[in-house]
Symmetry: C2
DNA sequence: TATTGTTATACTCTATAACTATA
DNA sequence: TATAGTTATAGAGTATAACAATA
């Protein structure tokens, strides 16, 4: 089907372009780097976790996750608590400063996204967006 | 509304996480770097354009776009044609090699995304995705 | 003066390779 | 041997600053 194929290819390009624009928009917002903020938010929502678990959750190499954690640790925003049952592992958790940074950023600056979702989209649109994200997630996990 | 706020915050986090995963997934696919491929696809679809126009279209700094164009030019995939009406400007356009690379990549490797859209999603889901992308684009353009 | 474009430089993000320590 | 984690290194992607040429 010629028309169908064209549509799919266009959708692919649209997706690529839109994702690129969105990433740049997110990055432009002041506050900690996106990857670091994402990790802080994850730790806050799901609690302490090991490097491996965090890497798996974000579909990222453990070495890459280790870098992000190292940067956050140097900034004093997360700390490590050794796993008493397995001395190879350590739980990464938010420090008090990490909590403060997170809520601070959410409230003052990085809240941009949440605010935009509230302000620019109505309830129905948020549902549509959610449905779209579920599909994007599925594509990302293939 | 407490519940409403929580939902919006969660949606924001979901968006952030999903976009991150998707970017990494796209990057993992073999072929030319994502930014370069995106530009090749744009030139193919919309025709020659100046650096400034391309930067505006992708919501990117002209200096950043100049880098991408320079890399593609060095690889022989795009060329510049001076604008006869304005000697500051030049039109960036696909070379024959650029066309070949584009269709080659689309067919063999980078076609992953288009294929996935065909294979993993049905027509209704593609519509939902499209609607979601329109909203994401709106958010990116705020 | 404003616009188009360039080069230099730096930061973020993430990957692969090679390694240590523990299980 | 397998798993958890680290450091070293490199490449992609993009930004800001400072500049040159043209309008």
């Amino acid at each position: 089907m010629e028309a169908e194929q064209t549509t799919t290819a266009q959708l692919a390009q649209e997706l690529r372009t839109t994702v690129g624009r969105l990433v740049r928009r997110l990055r432009a917002e002041p506050g900690p780097p996106v990857a670091q903020f994402t990790l802080l938010a994850r730790l806050d929502r799901f609690g302490p976790a090991s490097i491996s678990d965090l890497a798996t959750a974000e579909r990222m190499r453990p070495q890459s996750m280790a870098q992000t954690v190292r940067d956050l640790e140097r900034a004093g925003l997360v700390s490590r608590r050794p796993d008493p049952d397995d001395r190879r592992r350590a739980f990464v958790e938010l420090t008090e400063a990490g909590h403060v940074m997170l809520s601070d950023t959410r409230a003052r600056r990085e809240g941009w996204l949440a605010e935009a979702l509230e302000r620019e989209l109505d309830a129905g649109e948020r549902e549509t967006l959610h449905a779209g994200l579920v599909l994007l997630r599925r594509l990302a996990d293939i």
